[in-house]
Symmetry: none
Subunit: 280 residues, 2 copies
DNA sequence: ACTGGTATGGAACGAACGTTCCAACACTCA
DNA sequence: TGAGTGTTGGAACGTTCGTTCCATACCAGT
């Protein structure tokens, strides 16, 4: 830290009161970043003037300069790992994409809460109701991946898709026991938002996977997962979204272990009988 | 974060200007913790009064209360990891998945040669031929994502799918100028392998995206990309595959910049005319 | 004991800040 | 088209903060 260096360098020339202040600065940087001169003076049992004198003696432009330095240090420290990694600065396209996608996965998975995850997995594992998945056009493939894998684990999972008539009918037939997973990022597809709104109004339990808590989908949902989708090309990246989907699928598989294993075995038997799968 | 919860809860009742402020609060919490009302107002292109109104609408005691909340959240976040682990703590399942998926992306993108990538992107950007995408059932969603995005950039991209009759006809009609992207992981779908073999025999230029150089698909293809697909649940993870697909799409977009931009503009105009997309 | 120099914190000053009020504006509905 | 409602940002107000000044306390050397 910039400040620590300066304190170390000037350490010998500090007066007793200044030294007490410096110790507080090193041990409670939050107090410097968020607090005032008076706060620091009280914490170090000294006067406000001593605090300012220390700051100038360290070469800062008054307490304001000291505070700014500590704030910058803290801001760097709590920047997402994804951004900090960027410092080596990738030159070629591949490593730039690598950093981008790793950042998407990291941000998406670290910003999600255990409680929300557990609650959503529990509902997705409840086979008394159906699971509807509604997705914007841009993320349709990822949604299909989620549906396909959930279908392998349990009954009653379907992608809400097709034309306007079919979509509205499907949603109209959804009931209170059902779950709607709605997936869309900014520049939301209007029909997706309207569909989710209709479902929510009917008492369907909604989960939103979207880009921001300010998404129109977030306000409809019981739980919202925000995904990072920084893309290197003209489109959003759904890598983070897919990682989240995998996490949900794994959770459901874990909860439905017995039934799911049975289902997978039956499919396996059918494939074996038809020799649908080959090893090489 | 406390603030994020409140924003998510009140999200629907926010006015446009308040929403802009809320976005800045979520994306740049440092600005709230270290900055002033005026800073936030400037960053969100709104007035100071709007900032204060948002804070009170969220249930805080003015901007001061909002700032204190963000400061506490930040202070908790930057406490030594040793202390942080003790808290609610992200569950083991999440961080295990995180490592897994980051590993998939990293392995997939780093084991990629520049030359192969450039060659494949060049062929995918060649609009004199078509691009066929053939995928195993397990990765169909990712394939669809690739097709959908390539379709936005150029003509003549199609997913080879449907029943046996349709698939064989589509492949039979493919010629030497066409490119086949074949995507499948171990326990290969027989029909995919057969389809790729048929296409290759007809002189179609093939790219394989698969799990190993020993895959039956690799021997048919001009270029093979191996993807890492370690999954935490019962299924393979296609996160690495999707990251690769994004890289290909970005490359094509770059090479076809002019035409692609025109296509995207036309789509944009159609969406605008129909108001298909909404911002909130 | 006295003196010169330093260290220290209280108090006053000026600047910056958060808050509140209000006029202008945009939008909706009749 | 006009009335009414809700939204927005500018400006004034009172407060808090950082800074500076200065009287007091402390210490070492004579």
């Amino acid at each position: 830290m910039e400040v620590a260096d300066r304190i170390g360098r000037a350490g010998a020339t500090l007066t007793p009161a200044e030294r007490r202040v410096a110790e507080v600065v090193l041990e409670q940087p939050q107090l410097v970043a968020f607090g005032t001169v008076a706060d620091l003076a009280e914490a170090s049992a000294s006067g406000a003037a001593t605090v300012v004198r220390l700051a100038t003696k360290l070469g800062f432009d008054g307490f304001t300069g000291l505070q700014a330095s500590v704030q910058h240090a803290l801001a760097n420290q709590l920047r997402p790992a994804a951004e900090r990694i960027r410092e080596p600065a990738a030159s070629d396209a591949i490593s730039r994409h690598l950093q981008l996608e790793v950042g998407n996965v990291t941000t998406t998975l670290t910003s999600l809460s255990d409680e929300a995850l557990a609650a959503v997995v529990a509902r997705l594992s409840d086979t008394t109701g159906r699971v509807l998945v509604l997705s914007g056009d841009a993320s349709l493939g990822v949604a299909q991946q989620l549906v396909s894998e959930l279908c392998s684990l349990r009954d009653g999972v379907l992608l809400v898709d097709g034309n306007d008539v079919a979509v509205r009918r499907t949603i109209a037939l959804a009931g209170e026991g059902d779950v709607l997973v709605v997936l869309d990022l900014r520049r939301y597809d209007r029909w997706v938002v309207e569909g989710a709104r209709a479902a929510s109004a009917q008492g369907v339990w909604c989960v939103a996977v979207t880009d921001s808590l300010l998404s129109p989908l977030a306000s409809l949902a019981e739980h919202t997962f925000t995904v990072a989708a920084a893309g290197g090309g003209p489109f959003d990246s759904h890598v983070g979204t897919l990682a989240l989907a995998n996490l949900l699928v794994a959770g459901v598989a874990d909860r439905l272990r017995a039934q799911a294993a049975d289902r997978l075995d039956r499919a396996e038997a059918a494939w074996r009988a038809a020799e649908s799968l080959v090893d090489r």
